[in-house]
């Protein structure tokens, strides 16, 4: 039986992790998180302990703890489940983050698509307040921490942490140049940690059980566990928790996927794999473990799937970087042309494959850097174009 943490049936009491953290020195909490080797569970995979250490070391009159609850990757809904069932755990994790880096203010950036979750989160906040686990002078330690919710307004790019901060400052969600990084100059130019819902939810468990316990939960050298949202052609769509580093096949088995042509792992910006590749591990550096897994059976037209993804990127590009704004449009046109037979061979396709590389190296943020992935994966693995033909060639 695989060990579950976030979705385990027997959960530690909400607040127990915070109570323990408050008996420790803030720096020791940071070291504990660092030693657990937990990495950003929204999908970017930046080591959480390093982020907290940098923000903790920054000196400022004000610091912020921000929860990225803007999951917008197509096929991702794991944070919705956590925000619904474990809002107290999230707030507890944020308070531990505040104690660790020296901040009294937490903000949840909640995507516009989840307005119906606000009430539950506020109720969770009140319940922790009533127990003296949020608010002023928490547990008599002199530590103050409170959390407010800020609404998003419908923009995928705002999941990128600097775009999220821009949006929280009341601006268009356009990613910033880095450096400076948010740990030094984030929200309102103050040191800020931005972590995903799932990361904050895991922190109280790490504090309660220790970093070594958490690290050994993973497989193949990876640390901890991971939630995956799986949908598409499966018998039991939903959210499943697996050891980080578990093979994709283990997830497919849980959800029931008897007919697999392709699996989109990590959302539209992730990787597309075929049935022969499902033994690969879900972990940073391999199949992207951001949380979205969509299964396509053998009846699905993968060019139609790709067209849907490219329409998504065309719509969601913030427009700031020309390669992303114009390039995704070109890639979408190329998919339409392929469906109509106008891009008929690999020679015609080559300029668009080159364009994917251009997007990867010349876009400022992860959206543009990864939007060519699905194009490259799907046309390479699932579309059989002849190598050469006699037509005039592609027009990129």
């Amino acid at each position: 039986m695989k060990k579950k943490v976030l979705l385990a049936e027997n959960q530690p009491e909400f607040g127990a992790g915070l109570q323990k953290a408050l008996t420790m020195k803030p720096a020791d909490v940071v070291f504990m998180v660092r030693d657990s080797e937990i990495r950003g569970l929204g999908g970017a995979g930046f080591p959480t302990g390093i982020k907290w250490n940098l923000a903790g070391a920054a000196s400022a009159d004000k610091k912020y703890v921000i929860c990225n609850a803007d999951e917008g990757e197509p096929g991702t809904f794991k944070d919705r489940v956590l925000l619904t069932d474990q809002a107290e755990r999230l707030l507890e994790g944020m308070a531990i983050g505040g104690y660790a880096i020296g901040s009294d203010t937490g903000i949840i950036y909640l995507r516009a698509e989840y307005p119906y979750l606000v009430e539950g989160i506020l109720k969770a906040r009140q319940s922790l307040m009533d127990r003296g686990l949020l608010g002023k002078n928490i547990q008599g330690t002199g530590f103050n921490f409170d959390v407010e919710i800020r609404p998003g307004a419908g923009a995928y790019v705002c999941g990128e942490e600097t775009a999220l901060i821009e949006s929280m400052e009341g601006k268009r969600g356009e990613p910033r140049n880095k450096p400076p990084y948010p740990v030094n100059a984030g929200y309102l130019n103050k040191p800020t940690i931005v972590n995903n819902v799932e990361t904050f939810c895991a922190v109280p468990h790490i504090v309660l059980n220790g970093p070594d316990w958490y690290a050994q939960l993973g497989e193949g050298g990876a640390s901890g566990t991971k939630l995956f949202s799986i949908s598409g052609d499966v018998e039991r769509p939903g959210v499943y928790e697996l050891p980080m580093g578990a093979p994709l096949s283990a997830l497919l088995e849980l959800a029931g996927a008897p007919d697999v042509q392709a699996v989109q792992v990590g959302g539209a910006s992730g990787k597309t794999v075929c049935a022969e590749q499902v033994d690969k591990p879900l972990s940073f550096g391999d199949l992207p473990p951001g949380g979205s897994v969509v299964v396509f059976n053998s009846s699905r037209d993968m060019l139609e799937v790709l067209e849907n993804f490219m329409e998504f990127f065309v719509h969601e590009s913030c427009g700031q970087c020309t390669p992303c704004r114009e390039g995704n449009m070109r890639l979408l046109h190329a998919v339409s042309a392929m469906r109509q037979g106008d891009v008929c061979c690999m020679d015609c396709l080559q300029p668009f494959m080159d364009l994917c590389d251009v997007l990867g190296v010349s876009s400022k943020c992860g959206l543009g850097q990864t939007s060519g992935n699905c194009f490259r994966d799907i046309v390479t693995t699932f579309v059989n174009l002849p190598q050469e033909c006699n037509c005039e060639g592609g027009d990129a």
């Binding site: 516009a112 998003g152 923009a155 400052e169 009341g170 268009r172 309102l188 949908s231 396509f296």
Partner: protein, 147 residues
């Protein structure tokens, strides 16, 4: 009026703009030019800057819309599970196309990127409420019930 309420609730910091816009947009269904100008004045920025923010976000609108906003997810997990039939049923029920508002101002029909309900596809948001595992019949009933 709504802007003044919002300012009292959130404060007049520049960083409160999206909260203010969201409040107006939720109550009126869109952000009228007068509200943009009120917000611009209160936050000390130009009206053009407020407009640039409104135009950036999918859930904010600078154009008048219906009393009810129906947003149907058009991302892959929903399109794989019969979203097109659901849209067709709603279009037939309302007699409008995606992006349009009924002449009586009752409903605006839109599509939207992934709304995180992929395990219960196809799904849509009606104003602030999610509706999941839609069929054409179920969708038609929900739409018919909107005031």
């Amino acid at each position: 009026m709504i802007v003044a309420e919002g300012l009292a609730e959130f404060g007049a910091g520049r960083e409160r703009m999206i909260q203010l816009l969201t409040k107006v947009n939720t109550e009126l269904g869109w952000v009228p030019p007068e509200a943009m100008m009120d917000i611009a004045e209160a936050l000390g920025v130009s009206a053009a800057e407020v407009y640039s923010v409104v135009s950036f976000y999918s859930f904010l609108s600078a154009e008048a819309r219906g009393r009810n906003i129906v947003r149907i997810c058009n991302t892959i997990s929903c399109t794989m599970k019969g979203q097109e039939e659901v849209i067709d049923a709603i279009r037939a029920e309302l007699g409008i196309e995606v992006g349009e508002t009924t002449p009586d101002g009752r409903v605006t029909l839109e599509t939207t990127a992934c709304i995180g309900l992929c395990d219960q596809a196809p799904a849509m948001l009606v104003n602030q409420t999610p509706h999941t595992s839609l069929t054409p019949e179920k969708a038609r009933e929900i739409i018919a019930g909107l005031k």
